[in-house]
């Protein structure tokens, strides 16, 4: 159990390093006898918007947790901007799955967004004016400033997801991981999320989004990664999303004329 967290990051990013590099990553949970990930290797460059798709139990969430060092990696290496993520957690942020959050907890929207700044503070440090500014800007970007003093549990699913994204914006990471951010989200929020992600990646940050929604792939992502314990397909969304890969991943056949994005 680590005692220390956050504070200042003293390690600059390696020049020209990939935003994310996985080398032959395999992982197995202590409670199971089978690998959830088998020999996954991939490189994500700054500016990429990667959709991570695959059936339930494909290891999508595990992969995201491994990147952040939230799970102990069994085999292989993972580097974020040329170093293990745990060396500097400032550079990588996650929007976790909705179910891991205790929405009933009495806490305001503003307090939740401020959590994005804590990695820069660490123990015993109070937020400074710069942190309040970052929170204000993030609230503005996600269009939730007028909800800032509400209890998060009172908001709709879409509004809650905006709060979580505002928090990662306040975190100011260079690699953003979003685990199923589109579940229970209204269309306006979905558009706002994608618009924001596009703006972020235009600034040279990298984004990885795990999703079940195959329909949004071609429009909003530069790259798709089909995962089912190993990488089944990796490339532009149109290349990846073929009836064959879908059949292989989900175990059912589409009609030969069916294309998920134009039907």
């Amino acid at each position: 159990m680590r005692l220390h967290y956050g504070g200042q990051c003293h390690l600059p990013a390696r020049e020209g390093a990939a935003a994310l590099q996985l080398n032959n990553v395999s992982h197995r949970y202590a409670s199971t006898s089978e690998d959830v990930l088998r020999g996954v290797s991939l490189t994500v460059s700054p500016g990429e918007r990667v959709a991570l798709v695959g059936p339930n139990g494909a290891g999508k969430s595990t992969l995201l947790k491994l990147i952040l060092g939230m799970e102990h990696l069994s085999r292989g290496t993972i580097d974020v901007f040329g170093r293990p993520a745990t060396h500097c957690l400032h550079r990588v942020a996650i929007v976790p799955q909705r179910s891991t959050v205790d929405w009933r907890f009495p806490i305001t929207v503003r307090q939740v967004v401020m959590m994005g700044r804590y990695v820069h503070l660490g123990w015993f440090k109070r937020p400074k004016p710069a942190d309040f500014e970052a929170v204000g800007a993030a609230l503005d970007t996600m269009d939730i400033t007028e909800l800032a003093d509400r209890q998060v549990g009172e908001l709709s699913g879409g509004q809650q997801q905006r709060v979580m994204l505002a928090r990662t914006l306040a975190h100011d990471a260079d690699l953003m991981l979003l685990d199923e951010p589109l579940n229970h989200v209204d269309i306006t929020t979905q558009e706002l999320i994608f618009h924001t992600l596009e703006r972020i990646t235009a600034m040279g940050k990298a984004v990885i989004v795990s999703t079940h929604d195959l329909g949004v792939l071609t429009v909003h992502f530069t790259r798709a990664l089909f995962l089912d314990k190993r990488i089944i397909a990796d490339g532009s969304p149109k290349e990846v999303l073929t009836p064959e890969t879908i059949a292989e991943a989900y175990g059912f056949e589409f009609h030969k004329d069916y294309h998920p994005w134009n039907s």
Binding site: L3, P96, Y118, W123, G153
Partner: protein, 272 residues
């Protein structure tokens, strides 16, 4: 005025009131976290399962505080070890340890002590607070209050979103042990004033009542503290003038406050 001052002429009454207020302060400050992190069963278990430690301290003739604290640490570690492997849920682990330790305590107590000792341990004896107890209580209150103030943002983060906490390198387990340590210290001193059985009420009722009135954590904590202090004073004078046990008097006052808060939130909802 005479009415209020009269009981305080006796130094043991004054110490009792001081002890009661210190206990109320520590319990109420933690109450919001106990309620919202779902730790009430843990608090109850801690209170009951320190009994063997109290008996051992009684037999050795040392302060009951150290015996209770030792047992509380064993209980927390025991529950952690059993539930760690994930085969059993934490509530089951708490249940097993709680019942086992409490039974052991009752058994030991029945061999060494009289019935009135038992009732003091079970229901507290606010008038038995010594000046040594007061010193320990003050230390515990200072530890708990500084603990909460210094780690407020960490407790908030780990409680609301443990995944985010571990993503920024803050171990939710560490925060949990921090709260458990404060909870164990508080429970141990609270036993002196309200007893094993009623500690739970001081840990849960103020936070629950305040949560009916406010949705802000900071306000919930402050409201809990105010209600607990008022309830302790009311209970204390009630026990002096009506000649009833102080522990139940304090707890019943808190329960009445809970009902009033419930009515208030009901009225507010209807009006909206």
């Amino acid at each position: 005025m005479e009415f209020l001052i009269e009981p305080l002429r006796y130094s043991f009454m004054l110490r009792g009131l001081g002890g009661g207020l210190l206990t109320a302060l520590a319990c109420a400050a933690l109450s919001a976290f106990v309620v919202w992190r779902g730790m009430s069963f843990m608090g109850d278990a801690l209170a009951h399962s320190v009994l063997p430690g109290i008996v051992v301290a009684y037999m050795l003739g040392v302060s009951l505080f150290w015996g209770a604290l030792g047992a509380a640490i064993l209980v927390v570690i025991g529950i952690g070890l059993i539930s760690r492997r994930g085969q059993l849920g934490e509530d089951a682990a708490i249940g097993v340890v709680f019942a086992g330790f409490f039974a052991l305590g009752i058994l030991m107590l029945s061999k060494v002590a009289t019935f009135s000792d038992l009732s003091h341990i079970l229901f507290g004896n606010i008038l038995g607070v010594s000046s040594g107890d007061l010193v320990i209580m003050t230390v515990v209150v200072v530890i708990v209050l500084t603990g909460i103030i210094l780690s407020y943002k960490e407790i908030l983060t780990a409680s609301f979103d443990p995944a985010h906490a571990s993503a920024i390198g803050l171990s939710p387990g560490l925060v949990r042990y921090l709260i458990l340590t404060m909870l164990a210290l508080t429970t141990v001193v609270a036993i002196q004033t309200v007893g094993v059985v009623l500690v739970l009420a001081l840990l849960v009722t103020p936070g629950a009542a305040a949560s009916l009135v406010s949705r802000r954590l900071g306000r919930i904590i402050i409201l809990s503290v105010i209600m607990s202090i008022v309830a302790t004073i009311v209970g204390f004078y009630a026990s002096y003038y009506a000649d009833v046990a102080s522990g139940p008097a304090i707890v019943l006052t808190l329960t009445v406050m809970f009902v009033l808060c419930g009515l208030y939130s009901l009225v507010r909802k209807v009006r909206q």
